[in-house]
Every structure is written in structure tokens, then in C-alpha cells.
Symmetry: C2
Subunit: 690 residues, 2 copies
């Protein structure tokens, strides 16, 4: 398109002018009145948001594969769930490696460390910073905002983030991305030399001070800015003496204001009012605020692209808004999005694998897809994302004989939870095998249940579904690892314990002096009913009456008596004191053990042998089995699981289970030597009988 | 930035040149060697794909809200599932109104008409075209490709699409979008006057003719082009005499070729070889081909953005590829994506609501959220997406006395299907209440099951989940509407029919001469077992023995005898011939009726009264209830559903059900007058007793 030859100067000038016009037209689209203005005010003529967002950031995209830094302050259970949805939306669109800087309290750190370790997202680095250390830096500021001290911490990020970090995007947990975060990062390229902070205008009239009589907000430039999305140029901030600047401003304002109303945002705005040169205004689409009385519509009705939605109404997703359905659908997209699909590497950048990911990939690649037990092997190797303490939780106070009920379940057993809560008034640690979408249904289910919503001593750990076989022992291990009392009752979700069991177990532990060096597994005898509606026995005497009447049976008496034969139910009928029993083949009682007991063998997935192997392990480690004379729990009827149906109908399934058993015994021999021989002999004996 | 004052001509020239360079740098990014070339060959130096895709289409975006047209040829059950995933990916990113032109066989039309009608996506218009009509136009072309005649139909689209349609994007069903389709549409703006078809280069060596000895592909320009994604400029095609051109070429080539190997693609390529001026080459990212031996890596490793993935390997998602995981995760995103989230209107365009959507929105908006039965009302109004005949299906041959078993289920009852298939060798119509992700698990489950995968007479209809209450009667109505035999057995998924029931019912229908004007509901007496493992009685005699032994009971004998009291089990024991029984309050037998029987009342959602109301309706319409002496079915044990648990624990739930019952009776009185009084009296009587 460039003219050849040596044209005359005027000719060139005219030609270039024309070219410039043509290119300008392409660049700035069909609305030539929208310039490249960098301000984007809700009232001004220079709207600019559409063009800014659609075109200009792409012009200054950072080098391919540049690491982008994102900081989020996150505290407590609810924010820890929110940040996951935020991160899913960011990861879905991102193409760059990311470094997350998470400023967390102990609760969020515990949750998010486990989550990101098990999520194994390539090209994502996560660093944690202790919010406790920041508290003294902001605790002198009175704050009326619900976010409390954490709401103020964005002010002091430059003090805690590494000095090497020049620029960072700071996000609230209640935002959702609908675009590639690199486009936001690109705005750093538009900063003038003086500018240190990029912000979107506040999309309400709050700072205009006319919301109600005597409403006296903190000072702000016009409508002020919203701090849900911030571009922070950290090294420049330090050079400009940011710490002194904001502290001075805050102290001065606090002479007339009693407190901040909107936490850090009030102080950011007061500083900007005084030093407008510090702020680089961002187009409104990068922080579409859905607060009450929002004016955001003025922004997005003009915008072809929404980039970031900010759920900054106290009503959150329930916010009333003409376009709420549209925004909700964006948010729900990521709420229910299967996080494992984000375990994909960005293209064309050097690979950053999270710890363990490469070995895992290799191990998976070495599996033989044609091998009959391929599905089993693959399932065993699967690393499931784990979100521990998914809901609010109050850990039990430390007590030397306390017992946590440990169990696992999937969606089809949710209806057991209320009954379980009524039967077990003590702490519980439950692993739930759910999809991301089901986790949200579960949350709703607990919220709606008057029984469950008040129980803060039940810890729910979500293990995200991946693969066709139920990873029963991995689930048990997650629940077991999160139990915080000295003892655990290893139960199954279909069992309801005797009403008195929690108290009785604690008393028994104390009486038997298990705290010392005695290694014991207390057996809770298992029964079953076949009736949907069933009046639960209040005592052992009532239970025995029902047993004699045929309304109750010992567990699996008809189908699999070996499983509980060692418990010796006839002795239990008469027993007044705990009695010791010996292990025998296929024994799989429900037991109470110290929480540092052996873990379950994760190789057993799907149906079969998952508890049996654990009991063998206890026996091999010389745990005594002591049957408790007043303890019992009762299995309620349910349809056979998909796994048990497959076990029954598929010879391959049974063969694979057999192969797993043999491998288990080989491992056992390696670890316990000749002492483990009895288990192998028992297995062989039972096979020759079969 | 523009200089003020009146500069000298040379000064302007230099300044403009500088500006141009700066803007050029912004526009064309960090790789100045990549020009704005419009060709994108795998071997050439002018790669250009990244820049083309990242920048230039945005420069020529069509006017906001322009309607984009998309044509897809779709035939059979598998393609009908594929196109849903394709459309989800398109709808997820699109911002423009869309008009879909679907060229379908009768199967796909039946499925997709229902799907789109119930999907209710705003700003999507769907037109159907009969593929049958196109067959004669292409049937003269021998084709070795698995797509058969349908694979050739893209050639004749200009003949079937409306004359008013100037341009259309043509897609294969096996592509997945990861970007806004308007960016693809924008390439029409790059076409020269001569160009009529936009295509991406074929990403394999196929057309080079060196794949194996004596491999003689159809002629093509270099590597040729792939026709999975086509931009067709329809009116220009007609002007250039497209029909004559391609037919001539095809006929000439067929003098030496025995058939097309790759269907339409061979012919498109042969035409382009002869008339290269017709093609506008598209950047490779718009059709990343994952065929075996693909060279696609050369494209996407350079590309920041993948736009369209083409699963054109016969292995489809199982394709082996270094980056297969990445591509699969994109595809799985939409496979499992909740389609109802796409019921969102594009912003800022005039609203195009699908039929019924506005009334529905109004009705939903009028509900009072504070009302205790809000959840019920909302659930009743919910329009669920419905994908009928989700899996391959062979409708039963027409037989005058044939019976289809009709039932509904959700994921937690999948394990019943195999047993049901063993007990019922006849046709079934089953509605499944699933999420999009569960529908894929279900597909896998059927594929893996030797029992289910061979049964082509079972029609599975997926009703997509939406809302907290199980829409039991809406599900039943979907399954009922899709039953194709003259009679239906209205059963529930937890029941297994007697092995002989299918034959016995057909014989009974014939004997009772139900084909005439006689309105009858044949009652199949219901029993239950409480045992997981259970030897199903082979005959009525065996059943009676089990009943006497207490291993079987009449259904809900202990909990709710009213439900089946009218069946009169003691009479049934002795009966040798069908006997008539009278309706009584709460009667809810399982019945065989003509398929044009009354529908279920969709107001009953969740637990309770859903069958009772239907039986009342039958009685009000004067169906005779005839109990069949040799018929029976047996209910297997399962855990109580979430809905029944809620019913039992929530007084509100029970109150709402009561309110629904009363409304039902009011409607009944309106429709049947004083004849309906007996039902109301019965209800009031039962309430006064309670």
C-alpha cells in the first residue's frame, strides 16, 4: 500500500494524512466521536469505554508469556469460596503465566494451600502472605465497612509484597472476569510517568454526598473511584512515599470523619482528590459495579464487551437489576465450571508445571489403555482438587477424649445428613465427592436446612469428581486428615449411630485409658434395617428386642456374614464390658481409633475391600480390637450404588479387584515381613473356597 | 498529540510518517515481520495467522447487532448431539443475533426443533430445510466418505437457502468455537470482488498425494483447503454460476476418479484449483484440524488465540496429539456447559425473544418471592430444555397392540436400567432429568453397558435440570409424548415388571378389544421387596408364595395402603379374569392406557400427589379400571429421595402440596362440573380424618 518511488513532499503529506484517517477509522471503529481519551466518566461526553476496551489495550499487549501478578486479600470461609470462582474466570480466559499473591488469614490459607496444591494448574504460582502481620498497620483506622480490617489491607500491599514486584493487579474476591486479564494488565502501558494507580470510576452517587440528608462521604474526585479492581504500580508508589501520603490523608480526614465507610476505598479516594495526577482512570467495563442504585447501566449499555463484573452489592448474586440475569449467567458459568478443565498449559510459553504434575503426567502416560484394569489404575493416580472446610466451621475445643465422626458421601446421600446430625451431636469431618455444580447445590441444601445450617462443628470437605470410579479411600483419607479431635469414629454415611454413642465413646476412651500407649480400635457393632420408616432404638435393650422380632439384623447377615463375624454378636448381646476379638479374614468393623491411625489404601477405588484393607493394616500394626458392649450403629436401606452394580455384573471389575488385593498383600509383606503372611494365607484360603 | 499551528509541508510529512510508524507498531504488534497478508499457508513465510486473528478482523467488524447467518448440515442422532455442543460454544462467545439454517433429516429435525423451542435462547432464529430434497442433487456423486450424501450437501446450499441470504458461515458439526463468531464473519469484509468462498488451508499432506504409494487425491491448490468452516458469499456464487462450475468440475474429475474420498471437500478443492481467484484464504486458527497426522501444530504454536477447533479425526475426542488435553478441555467446557445459562440476551441490540419467552418472563416476574410456595410456582413455570432421543434409537414397527413402558429417572437411578431392560423386552420411552455434564456420563454409562448398548428400542429423552424441585410430571409427559406405540405402560423406574408382562399386556389388550371405543386403564398390581438381593418370582404362583412368606409385600402396605387399596389384592390372588374396580381417594395404581390418554398435571413437582391427580383425571374421563389377574411389578428398595425427605421434614412443603391439591380440584370442577365433586369430597374427608 505504500507508494513507491520518490514522491514530492506535499504529495507524501496528503497521502499520509489520508492513510492516517483510514487507519484511524479502522482503529476507532464506527463511532468516530469516541476518541482515545483515557478518562471514562459516567457523565462526560467522552465515553470512550467501548473503544478503549475493544481496541487500545490490544495495541499495547505486554510481551507474550510475560508473568502477570495478581494480589487478593482473602479471609474466612466465604471469601475462600468466592476466590475460587474469581480464579476460574481468570484462568478460563488467560493466556499468560500468573503469579497469585494471596494475603490470607489462617483459615483461608489452610483452604487455599490445599486447593491450589491439588488443583495443579500449569503456569500458576501462588504465594501466601500472612494477613495477621498487616493488621497492626491498619488497625488504627476505624472502619464501618463489613470487610473490617481486611478491607483496609489493600492500602499496605506495597509494604508486604516483594520489592522485586513492580506492578500488580489487585482484585476483590467478588469480581468475575469475562475476558483475558492480560488486557487489563496492558493498561500499565498507558500510565503516564506520574500515574501509580489505575482505577475505574465509582458507579454510584455515593461520593457526591447527596444520597440522604447529612450524608457526608469521604472526599473524592467527582464520583470517586472503586477499588474492587486496582492496577498498582508498586515501585513508583514506594518512590512517591505512598505510605506517608495515605496515612497523612487518612489521619487528617479522621479528624472530621468518625470512620471509613467503605474501607480502603475512602482513603484511596481522599488521596486521589488531593493528588489527581496519581490516578490512571480505567474504562468502566473493567469494573462493572452491581451495587444497589448502580449507574453501571450507563457503562455497559454502550459497551460491546463487559470485562469484569463486580458483585459489590450486599445482596451479591440476588441483586435486583434489569440485566441481572445476564450477569448471573456469567457468574454461574464459573461457579459451576469444572475446575479440572483449567489444568491446561497456556500455549507457546515455557512450561511451568506445579509440583508433582510432571511425574503424574508421566505415570499416567505409562499406563496401558488396553490393560483390563486401566480404569482402576487411572483412578488411583488421579489427583482430585480438594476444597477443605467448604462451609463455615468452628473447630471443636481441644478435649483429650473427644471423637470426630469421619465419613464420605456423594450427592445421592445428602438426605442422610440431617438424620446423622440428630444422632451425632459431636464434631464430624465429612468428605463429599461432588462436581463443581453439585458443590453449589450442596451449599444451598445446607443453607435451607434448619438442622444443618446451625451445626458449625461439622466440617465438609469437597473432593471434586474426576473419573468413573468412586475414590472411596481417597475420600476417607481427606476426611480423616481434617479431623481435629484426638480420636475418630470411622463410619459410613448410611449408618446412624445410637443417640448415646458420642457420649458413650468419650466415656469409654477415658475409662479404657486409651490416651496412653495402648493401641486399640474400639469396635462399634453394626446392624441394619430394611425398612424405610423405622423407629430407631433408644437403647441396647430396645435394639435387642427389634433384633429378636426380625425388624433388625446384624449387618449384611444374609449377604456377607464374614464382614462382621469377628465382632461376635452373640457375645455382644450379653457383654457388660469391652471384650477383645481377633482379626479374621474379611473383617471390616466400624472402629474408633486415634486420629494418627494408618491412612486408607487409596488403590481401592469403586466397590470392594476398601475397609477390609484398612482393618488388616490396623491388625498388622498391632491395634487391639475391643468391642464396646453398649455401642451400636444401624445401616439404613438404599439402592445399590453404581459401583456395586458394576462389581456384580462385570467379571473384569472383579478380576481387577482381585489383582489389587494381591498387590496390596505384596506391599504388606514388604512392610511387615512374615507377620503379614497370615493375611495372604487367609486370602488364598478364601479364594480356594470360592 | 497532533501539532498545533500551521507547520510546513515537509514537517507534516515527517511527523505523519513517524505517527504512521508508531501506529503501525501498535497495530501489528511486536513481530513486525508479520504483515497483513491474507494468505496463511503452512509452509509460507507469510504466516500471518496470529496477527490476522488478533487484530485485523476487529478492524472490520460488521455493524453492531447485525444478524449473522450460520448453516449446518445435520443428520441422525450423533450429529444432533454434536451440534448442541457446537452451538453452545458459538452462543457462549457471540454478541450478535444469529440465524441458524439447519439442513436436517427427519431424525435431526425432530430432535432439534424440540431442543431449540425449549431452549428459548434470545436473539437466535432457527430455520429448518429438508435434507431429503437435496439428496437428488448430489446422489449422482459417488462418495467414499463416512458422511455419505450429507457430506456433499454443502455444495448445493446456494440452491436451498433463501435468495435474500447474501452471506453465510457453513460449519461442520464437529467444530468447537473458542471465540466470537462475529470475528469470523468479519472476514467477508476482506473478500475481494471476485472471491466467493473463504476457507482455511487443509492441515495435512492429503492433497499433496504422497501419503502412500498410488495415493491419488483429487486436484487441489497446494495442500488444498478444508471445508469444516466455510464462508460462503451466496449471491456472488449464484452470479458466477456456481452450480454449473462445480458440477462440470466434478463430472470431469469423476472420469478418472472413482469417487470422492472427502466428500464436498474434494470438489471444492478441484474447483479452486481451476479458479483460484474464487477463494479467500482464512487464517489457520479459524479451523485448527486435529485429524491424524495433522500439521496443525505449525499453526497454533504461533497463534496466541485459537478460534475454532475441528475434531476431524475419526477418533474424535480420543485423538492422540501432544496438545490434545488442551483441545479436549475446550471441548469438554461446552459439552458439560449448562445450556440454560445461554438464555441471555446480547446487550444493546433490539430484543428478539423466542416464542413464549416474554410471557414466561412476565409470569415469573409476577411471582411473589416471599410467598411460602414460591419455589413450587417457579418450578412449575420452568421450561426445561429437552433433548428427545438423545441416543441412537430404532422406533418400534407399528403393531396394533404394542405397549411402551414409560418412566422417568435421574442420575441416582441409572443402575436400574439394566435390570429393567432384562425384565421388559419391549419398547421404552424414558425421560432423564440430568445436567448437561450428567448427560455425558449417562452416554458413557450406556456405551459401557453390554445390556443397554444393544437395545435400540429404548428412547432416552434428556430433560435438563433447572430448579430445586424434581419436575416429576413434566418428565412423565415428555416420555409419554414420545411413546410411539398405541398403548403405554405408565410405570416408575424403581419397579421391575414381571418377565412375562410385556407379552401378557399385548395379549390382554388384544383380548379385551381395547382398540375400539372402550376406554380402559389396565391395572398392573404393585408389590415391593425390602431386600437388596432378591430372587424375582417367575410367575404369579411364585409371587404369592413369597408374599405369604413375608419376603414380599403389597406396595406401601405399611406406610400408605390407600394408594393401592382399590386394586383389591385379595381378589387379585384368586382372580382368573380381569376385574373392574372403582376409584377411591388416593388411588395411584400403575396402569396401561392408550397413548392419547390425558397428560400428567405439571403443577405437581417434587414429592406427592403426582400420580394420584393423573388417576383422578382418568376416572373423570370415565376410564374403566381393569385389574389384570396375571400382571404384577415389584418395587425395589432405595433410599428416600431428597424430595420425600423434604416433604417429611418441612411443614411448608406439606402446606404447599395441600394448596396445589386444592387448585387442582378447582380446575377439575371447572372442567368436569359436578361430576368432579366426588374427588373434592374425598379430599376433604381425608383431611378431616388427618
Amino acid at each position: 500500500m505504500l507508494p513507491r518511488g520518490r514522491p514530492r513532499a506535499m504529495g507524501v503529506a496528503v497521502l499520509l494524512l489520508l492513510l492516517l484517517l483510514v487507519i484511524g477509522f479502522f482503529l476507532f471503529g464506527r463511532d468516530p466521536e469516541y476518541g482515545l481519551g483515557t478518562t471514562a466518566t459516567l457523565d462526560g461526553d467522552l465515553y470512550g469505554s467501548r473503544n478503549l476496551s475493544a481496541s487500545s489495550p490490544q495495541l499495547l499487549l505486554p510481551p507474550k508469556c510475560e508473568m502477570l501478578h495478581v494480589a487478593v486479600v482473602c479471609a474466612g470461609y466465604n471469601s475462600s469460596r468466592e476466590i475460587v470462582t474469581l480464579m476460574k474466570s481468570v484462568l478460563f480466559y488467560r493466556k499468560n503465566p500468573l503469579h497469585l499473591h494471596l494475603i490470607t488469614d489462617a483459615i483461608a490459607r489452610n483452604i487455599l494451600e490445599t486447593l491450589f496444591r491439588t488443583w495443579m494448574v500449569p503456569a500458576v504460582v501462588v504465594s501466601f502472605y500472612d494477613a495477621e502481620e498487616l493488621k497492626p498497620l491498619v488497625s488504627w483506622i476505624p472502619n464501618k465497612h463489613y470487610s473490617g480490617l481486611y478491607g483496609l489491607m489493600k492500602l499496605v500491599l506495597p509494604s508486604i509484597l516483594p520489592l522485586s514486584l513492580a506492578r500488580v493487579i489487585v482484585l476483590d474476591t467478588d469480581v468475575t472476569f469475562s475476558s483475558d486479564i492480560v488486557e487489563l494488565w496492558a493498561f500499565f502501558g498507558h500510565f503516564s510517568d506520574k500515574q501509580v494507580v489505575g482505577l475505574v470510576e465509582n458507579q454510584s452517587d455515593w461520593y457526591l454526598g447527596n444520597l440522604w440528608k447529612n450524608h457526608r462521604p469521604w472526599p473524592a474526585l467527582g464520583r470517586g473511584f472503586n477499588t474492587g479492581v486496582i492496577l498498582l504500580w508498586l515501585d513508583r508508589l514506594q518512590q512517591t512515599g505512598w505510605e506517608q501520603v495515605w496515612k497523612l490523608t487518612a489521619k487528617r480526614e479522621l479528624l472530621t470523619q468518625t470512620a471509613t465507610s467503605l474501607a480502603d476505598q475512602d482513603i484511596f479516594n481522599a488521596v486521589i482528590k488531593e493528588h489527581p495526577e496519581l490516578v490512571h482512570p480505567l474504562p468502566c467495563v473493567w469494573n462493572v459495579q452491581l451495587s444497589d442504585h448502580t449507574l453501571a447501566e450507563r457503562c455497559y449499555l454502550e459497551a460491546a464487551d463487559l470485562k469484569v463484573i463486580h458483585w459489590n452489592s450486599p445482596k451479591k448474586l440476588q441483586v435486583k437489576n434489569k440485566h441481572a440475569e445476564f450477569f448471573r449467567s456469567l457468574h454461574l458459568t464459573f461457579l459451576g465450571y469444572d475446575g479440572k478443565l483449567l489444568r491446561r498449559e497456556p500455549f507457546g510459553c515455557p512450561n511451568h508445571f506445579p509440583p508433582g504434575a510432571e511425574q503424574l503426567q508421566q505415570a499416567l502416560a505409562q499406563l496401558d489403555e488396553e490393560e483390563p484394569c486401566f480404569e482402576f489404575r487411572q483412578q488411583q493416580l488421579t489427583v482430585h482438587r480438594v476444597h477443605i472446610t467448604f462451609l463455615s466451621y468452628q473447630p471443636p475445643p481441644p478435649q483429650p477424649h473427644d471423637v470426630t465422626l469421619v465419613a464420605q458421601l456423594s450427592m445421592d446421600r445428602l438426605q442422610m445428613l440431617e438424620a446423622l446430625c440428630r444422632h451425632w451431636p459431636g464434631p464430624m469431618s465429612l468428605a463429599l465427592y461432588l462436581t463443581d455444580a453439585e458443590a453449589q447445590q450442596f451449599l444451598h441444601f445446607v443453607d435451607m436446612s434448619p438442622v444443618l445450617s446451625v451445626r458449625k462443628d461439622v466440617a465438609y470437605h469437597v473432593v471434586y469428581r474426576d473419573g468413573p470410579l468412586y475414590p472411596v479411600n481417597q475420600l476417607r483419607n481427606v476426611a480423616l486428615a481434617q479431623a481435629l479431635t484426638p480420636y475418630v469414629f470411622l463410619s459410613d454415611i448410611d449408618f446412624l449411630p445410637a443417640y448415646s454413642l458420642y457420649d458413650y465413646l468419650r466415656a469409654s476412651i477415658e475409662q479404657l485409658e486409651l490416651g496412653g500407649r495402648r493401641k486399640a480400635a474400639l469396635v462399634v457393632p453394626a446392624f441394619e434395617t430394611l425398612h424405610y420408616r423405622f423407629s430407631f432404638p433408644k437403647s441396647k435393650a430396645e435394639l435387642l428386642t427389634l433384633l429378636d422380632a426380625g425388624s433388625l439384623h446384624t449387618f449384611r447377615y444374609h449377604e456377607w456374614p464374614q464382614g462382621h463375624a469377628s465382632t461376635d454378636y452373640s457375645r455382644w448381646r450379653e457383654a457388660q464390658a469391652p471384650y477383645r476379638v481377633q482379626w479374621s479374614a474379611h473383617y471390616e468393623p466400624y472402629v474408633v481409633v486415634p486420629r494418627d491411625c494408618p491412612r486408607y489404601d487409596p488403590r481401592f477405588v469403586g466397590f470392594g475391600w476398601n475397609k477390609v484393607a484398612h482393618i488388616i493394616e490396623l491388625d498388622a500394626q498391632e491395634y487391639e480390637f475391643l468391642v464396646l458392649p453398649e455401642a451400636f450403629s444401624i445401616h439404613l436401606p438404599h439402592a445399590p450404588s453404581l459401583d456395586i452394580s458394576r462389581f456384580r455384573s462385570s467379571p473384569t471389575y472383579r478380576d481387577c479387584l482381585q489383582a489389587l488385593k494381591e498387590e496390596f498383600h505384596q506391599d504388606l509383606s514388604r512392610r511387615y515381613g512374615s507377620a503379614a503372611l497370615k493375611y495372604l494365607t487367609a486370602l488364598q484360603l478364601s479364594r480356594s473356597r470360592a
